[in-house]
């Protein structure tokens, strides 16, 4: 019986502690008792940390040249591996990132590299950047935040740049009849909308009759399957078989 009461008390206590970690605008008022200040401050910090631990505004990776990435100005929270230390970093102008920013070793072709914003020391406020083959943490760096990745192709040119915070993307392309338009990486079908238009229209008849009608269909269904067909109908109402064509498409995804 005692054990049950004890367990129940512990559960209630842990629930109360979990609630206490939420942001509370009425905390730390002038009337707060001095012996509660540490606890309440920590509770506010915990709430802020939950919100800001992965903060990133701007710092978008873009292609500059085969050997240079540009990182736009912005702000980011970098952390140590445990999350015990958070540092709020900023850059006020675009920064070039090259293989001179590689964390260790030398540039390798046909390799995916990961880009991190880092703080070189705990007292820095301006972010610098590191390239690494590690998808989890750059070598020799204590405070970091993953920003994105790129592929260093067989000619050692940077390409396929991808930002970690691509929550909205627009993808364009071409697709053939009966094919399924590919989902952009990192998005589900429910998060994307697709529209198509004619890319090629080939309607052919050698039936010898007078063409009375050209019937072309360009559409995409909810499963992203494309219909791009065309046939002609002569003045006797006889239709030729469908000819497969292609569509241009736009996919817009948001999550």
């Amino acid at each position: 019986m005692k054990l049950r009461i004890l367990l129940l008390s512990l559960m209630l206590l842990s629930a109360t502690m979990a609630q206490a970690a939420q942001w509370d605008k009425t905390r730390l008022l002038g009337t707060t008792q001095i012996n509660n200040i540490d606890t309440e401050t920590q509770a506010q910090h915990a709430a802020l940390d939950r919100l800001l631990a992965n903060y990133r505004e701007g710092m978008k990776l873009t292609y500059s040249s085969g050997s240079t990435l540009a990182v736009s100005a912005g702000e980011v929270m970098v952390s140590d591996s445990t999350g015990a230390t958070r540092l709020m970093m900023q850059t006020t102008s675009s920064t070039n990132v090259t293989f001179s920013d590689l964390d260790t070793g030398s540039e390798a072709p046909s390799t995916t590299y990961y880009v991190y914003a880092i703080a070189a020391s705990a007292s820095d406020t301006t972010a610098t950047f590191k390239i690494s083959t590690s998808a989890t943490s750059p070598s020799g760096v204590t405070y970091y935040k993953y920003l994105g990745q790129f592929y260093n192709n067989s000619s050692s040119d940077m390409e396929q740049i991808k930002n970690d915070n691509d929550n909205t993307i627009v993808s364009t392309g071409t697709a053939s009849n009966s094919s399924t338009i590919a989902l952009p990486s990192g998005f589900s079908n429910d998060e994307c909308d697709v529209t198509v238009s004619a890319n090629s229209q080939d309607c052919f008849t050698n039936s010898g009759g007078i063409i009375s009608d050209v019937e072309a269909t360009y559409s995409v269904n909810s499963s992203r399957v494309v219909t791009a067909t065309c046939h002609v109908r002569d003045n006797n109402g006889t239709a030729t078989s469908d000819i497969s064509n292609t569509v241009n498409y736009i996919v817009v995804c948001h999550k």
Partner: protein
Amino acid sequence: MRRIVLTFIAILMAHTASASWYIFKNDTYECVGKTSYEPDINDLNSRNEFAFFSKKDMTIDRLEFFNNDIRKRAETSDEKEQRKAEAAAAEEQKIINKRIMYLATKSLEDEGVKLKKSKSSDFK
């Protein structure tokens, strides 16, 4: 002004030179599409497809994956025949259309109708 034009041309060139992921069937290496954003691998796998990134800007018709690159495959004999047949039919249709126009305009002229744009001699 010249700068604006040059900037516009540079933007246009940058746009047209944009790279793509080309999507192929795993069994036939036939290209079924291309896309400007990296496609989802699991989505492609579900249809037995794969993507290949290339800076080449090519239309997808007759495109195939070959020797770890993309290329236009040669026309098959059926496709050649089809193309010839289309060209022949188009040529024949042109002759027929011309005769139809000639007969129609001649007939109207004989009836005394004054046409503003066309005359039968244009189609003879």
